[in-house]
Amino acid sequence: MKKKIILWAVFAAIVLFLFLAPHQNVRLVDIAHTFAGPSAEHWFGTDNLGRDLWSLMVVGGIRSLGVVGLATAISFSLGTLLGMAAAYEGGILATVIQFVTDFTMIVPSFIVALILSALFGFSPVMAGLMFGIGNMGSYVNLSRGLTLGMKERDFISAEISLGLSKPRIVFLHIFPNIMKQMFVYMGNHASSVTLQYAGLAFIGLGTDITNPDWGTLLYSYRLYMLTYPRLVIIPIAAVCLLALFFHFAFDDGSAGKEELTIYD
């Protein structure tokens, strides 16, 4: 448990640092010093326009974390809620929810992205919303399956027969019990949004080099990666750290122990 607190503390410190860290204005170009190596002035060196890569990583990090955070929050909360509702209520509601879930899973997210951005313009917030809803399906299915399992447990059926209110049973008794597994799933999938977002650049969305995030940086620097590998290694390292954090922060330590079988 201690480990986890340290992990969270480090993460919080990094996020705080991203907002407070001194960084240069990423709007400023310096065409006399393009592709400069790391130095005291530019910790990570400069990019093709002579912009400070460290500052770009900081500014882009805020944007990337925003997209990841928004998307994950939406998929997690909406997905869990709908899954529980479908499993608990059953009937027509369950059918409708299953229907919507299937639909979000069927239609590839990139065509949704293309159409939505043609309609409303493209922005990180919209990307967050879209991935949030697009990735919601697996959360719904998982939470539905877990809730169905819970419903068969004795204490829940006892509560139902006692006549406790539905929201109370669902939120106070079912949710805490399925929460752990939901979080593990979330931890394993949250950071993939960063790369999904980067992939949109291929279809022409989120290619705005003037307002970068980690995905955009990766996309635009891929042209120079063989000459200046630093430019892609640094963003990849950042995304990797994020993935590692999510993976371990939400990895269920106690479940690991329960999970121990007689053979371990």
């Binding site: 239609v107 394993n188 279809i203 990849i236 995304v239 990797c240 053979y263």
Partner: protein, 308 residues
């Protein structure tokens, strides 16, 4: 029987809902195909020009008529023609589908087969080498973009060693690379699912009993516990099959494979309503068959799976 009828009715509703939705959505986009067409050719957007193009594209008819014609022809097997090039859309789809489908289907099948073995090994020894590999693969596939890895592959094999031609010739190297990359990127998360499944089964009494009778745990798990795990894997793979359409986008671009995604993006670029509409319907039909087949497989495995 009742179930089968409900399944079909459900998909019919999905089909029509999707068709109406996409029909209206494409027409709500602010820039029309006529304007896009003029822009591509650097032509002035005068009213006369726009009117002429719109008429030529058949988009000046009432919406209900356009929808009716589209649906009627679709069921007759006539999927219409591209607004821009006038090509037959069905022929074009059938020419493009093999690329996206073989990348998606072979990639996912290879990925899941590998994931099944890796997950099995990982479950046997907690914290063992295979267990670690699954974690590393999962993290890797979430932090190194496919497009970066593909550039490295092309550069190594095509530019430095010059043993493969990815862009000219019959394109077999590009397809091979795309299939293997798809498999590689799906192994990580799928193997975690398999591992989880096996570990759950390991705790069950029938496994414990068999092991106590002297069978090796490997044999017990592999011979007797595989069914529920396989069912779990298949349920997870269902959602990956939507990927056949969307997921190969990056690979199609990185290896210039002329698949469905490339076509769709250029159709979107020119606002080719007809192609966009048909695309969504094809996706729905494809998912219908995927669900149908996988439900049948799950039934054959005789476990209570997630029948949707």
């Amino acid at each position: 029987m009742n179930k089968a009828v409900r399944f079909i009715i459900k998909w019919l509703i999905v089909f029509f809902a999707a068709s109406i939705l996409i029909f209206l959505l494409v027409r709500m986009m602010p820039t029309t195909p006529a304007v896009k067409w003029l822009d591509t050719l650097h032509l002035p957007r005068t009213e006369a020009n726009i009117e002429w193009i719109t008429h030529r594209m058949g988009l000046d008819r009432p919406l209900a008529v356009q929808y009716g014609i589209w649906m009627r022809n679709f069921f007759r097997g006539d999927w219409g023609v591209s607004l821009v090039s006038g090509e037959d859309i069905r022929a074009r789809f059938f020419a493009k589908m093999p690329y996206s489908f073989s990348i998606g289907i072979s990639g996912i099948l290879i990925g899941s087969a590998a994931a099944f073995f890796l997950g099995f090994r990982a479950a046997l020894r907690r914290g063992g080498i295979c267990d670690k590999i699954t974690t590393v693969l999962t993290i890797f596939s979430q932090s190194v973009p496919m497009f970066i890895l593909s550039i490295i592959i092309i550069n190594a094999l095509g530019v430095r060693l010059r043993i493969a031609r990815f862009f000219t010739g019959d394109g077999k190297y590009a397809m091979l690379a795309a299939i293997l990359l798809t498999a590689f990127y799906s192994v990580g998360s799928l193997s975690r699912i398999v591992r989880q499944g096996f570990r759950e089964e390991m705790g069950k009494s029938y496994v414990k009993f068999a092991v106590s009778r002297g069978f090796s745990k490997e044999t017990v798990l592999f011979r007797h516990a595989y069914k529920p795990v396989l069912a779990g894997l298949i349920s997870a793979v269902i959602s990956h099959f939507a990927y056949v359409f969307g997921g190969s986008t990056v690979l199609e671009f990185a290896f210039t494979i002329p698949g469905l995604s490339t076509m769709l993006v250029s159709a979107m670029d020119s606002r080719d309503y007809n192609i966009l509409q048909v695309y969504i319907l094809v996706v729905v039909i494809w998912m219908f068959f995927v669900h149908l087949v996988l439900n049948l497989v799950l039934r054959a495995l005789n476990v209570r799976g997630q029948e949707s």
